[in-house]
């Protein structure tokens, strides 16, 4: 009963926030609605006892991805008029994607054998069951190669992103901080012993 009440409360918030992402005129408000979406879906995951995934969702998407997103949105001066110019031209594509997504969701929900009867809630797991341990065991034994491949892919992506954005112009006056840190007083200041001027 309590689980059902919590589920419908948070599901409603999730839907409202999701609509808010699309319809709000201010891009910062849209980004914040998306943050709310992530938080409420994390709560829904907690309800089906997937606490590891829920916390990682908050940690990665709310804590890191959306912060950077918000950053960019705040810095850019987004012209809403320009964005809306192609609205009618691309509307058919939007409708097509919507139809496909809706069909997919309905297809998953109708299939009873996937066990997606949301109204019943999850089967309670034993008290000593640890989500993190189970996931870790699966990832590092059965799927070890897949995990390593994904890690290498991410590393390649990072290096690619850095090498694409790291441009060195000629004649750039950059600070060499390690040289600054390594500097000694004797490199900068010379103490000169002088004889005192005679009093006139």
């Amino acid at each position: 009963m309590l689980v059902a009440v919590l589920f419908y409360t948070f599901a409603t918030i999730l839907v409202v926030a999701g609509v808010g992402v699309i319809i709000s005129r201010n891009p910062v408000h849209a980004a914040l609605s998306l943050v709310l979406c992530f938080l409420t879906s994390a709560v829904l995951w907690l309800l089906i006892e997937a606490e590891f995934l829920a916390l990682v969702l908050v940690l990665v998407y709310v804590g890191a991805v959306m912060v950077l997103f918000l950053f960019v949105v705040m810095m850019l001066d987004i012209n809403v008029e320009e964005l809306k110019r192609g609205f009618t031209r691309y509307a058919w594509l939007g409708w097509l994607v919507t139809a496909i997504v809706v069909a997919e969701i309905v297809g998953v929900i109708v299939q009873r054998r996937l066990g997606l009867d949301v109204t019943r809630g999850a089967v309670p797991l034993p008290a000593d069951y640890s989500n993190a341990t189970e996931l870790g065991t699966a990832l590092f034994t059965r799927y070890a190669y897949a995990v390593e491949l994904a890690a290498v892919l991410l590393l390649v992506a990072i290096i690619a992103a850095i090498s694409l954005t790291l441009r060195r112009r000629r004649g750039l006056k950059l600070q060499d901080i390690s040289a600054q840190v390594a500097v000694r007083a004797s490199d900068r200041v010379r103490l000169v012993k002088m004889k005192a001027e005679p009093r006139s």
């Binding site: 940690l59 709310v62 890191a64 912060v67 950053f71 705040m74 989500n131």
Partner: protein
Amino acid sequence: MSGVSNWLATRWLALPGFAHSTVFILALTLVLIVCVAYLTLWERKLIGWMQLRRGPNRVRLFGIPHTEYIGQPFADVVKLLIKEIVTPARSNKVLFRLAPAITLIPAFAAWAVIPIAPRFAIANVDAGLLYILSLTSMGVYGVILAGWASNSKYAFLGAMRSGAQIVAYEIAMGFALVGVLMASGSLNLGTIVDHQRGAPFHWNLVWLFPLFMVYFIAGVAETNRAPFDVAEGESEIVAGFHVEYSGMGFALFFLAEYANMILISALTSIFFLGGWLSPLDGYLPAGSAIRHVPLLGLVLGDGTHWLAAKIFFLLCVFLWLRATFPRYRYDQIMRLGWKVLIPITIVWIAVEGILIWFRVGPWRV
């Protein structure tokens, strides 16, 4: 007398679980708020002594003699409460009001999983460490929103600085905690403390010393404290992200900053200094007579007081840093975070892996 206490005890046990939690939450929040109030006073006094000044020395507690400066926090609170709250023109009103609350809530909510006494936390969550990480990563929203909603250049600059800084240092913090995870093999904070049992030699501090340093430095940077306080940077951008806040709005940011300091100190003591474990743990055998001396035995044994003492020590280090060091330049902060702290953690995680493989050290894996 025993009849009354018995009656109270049965009444207490008969209450449902959520009533217990509510009472604990209220008690802990009250204690924390009082601690924050007196931490502000202690900061001003301690830094005053370090810099050969007196610090606050005027407000007595209800005019009682010999209580100089004890009443200072209450005077400050009353002053801030009766001040006018100014909302800047063309600011985003809703977000402007919401931002202080968003900064404050994670700082308090994180205490839910902290083991404050032997084998006791308000919520004994198995993934407690992840919960802490995800909550502390949410604190940055308050700062960014405050800077953006104020519709002020200074505030916006402060918010941008703070956002970039927190994202950078969070990575170092997370990696340092990976080392703690490897040492104890659990995400549960209570288990992490239990795994450091034995003697101070078994504390994570000894075997994970580089990670301890990285975690604490990153913690100072995360709370935007000196010497990493460019987000406020009085000399450049007035007061940074909270420049437009007055009265209680400002007080909430202040409260959040100090609550975060206490939280980081508590987490550092739990992860690296053995939490509520007594430093005499390994030197007093379980059956020794000194453990049964009425008061002394309690003081020398494990308990909340040891956690409080460790937190207090780390808080003093926070204040010491502020009294001693000049502010970092912004590019130096970024360099320290990305090019010094993160490589140190990665190297030490590898070293720790080798140590665990060859079973050198007190690992219980």
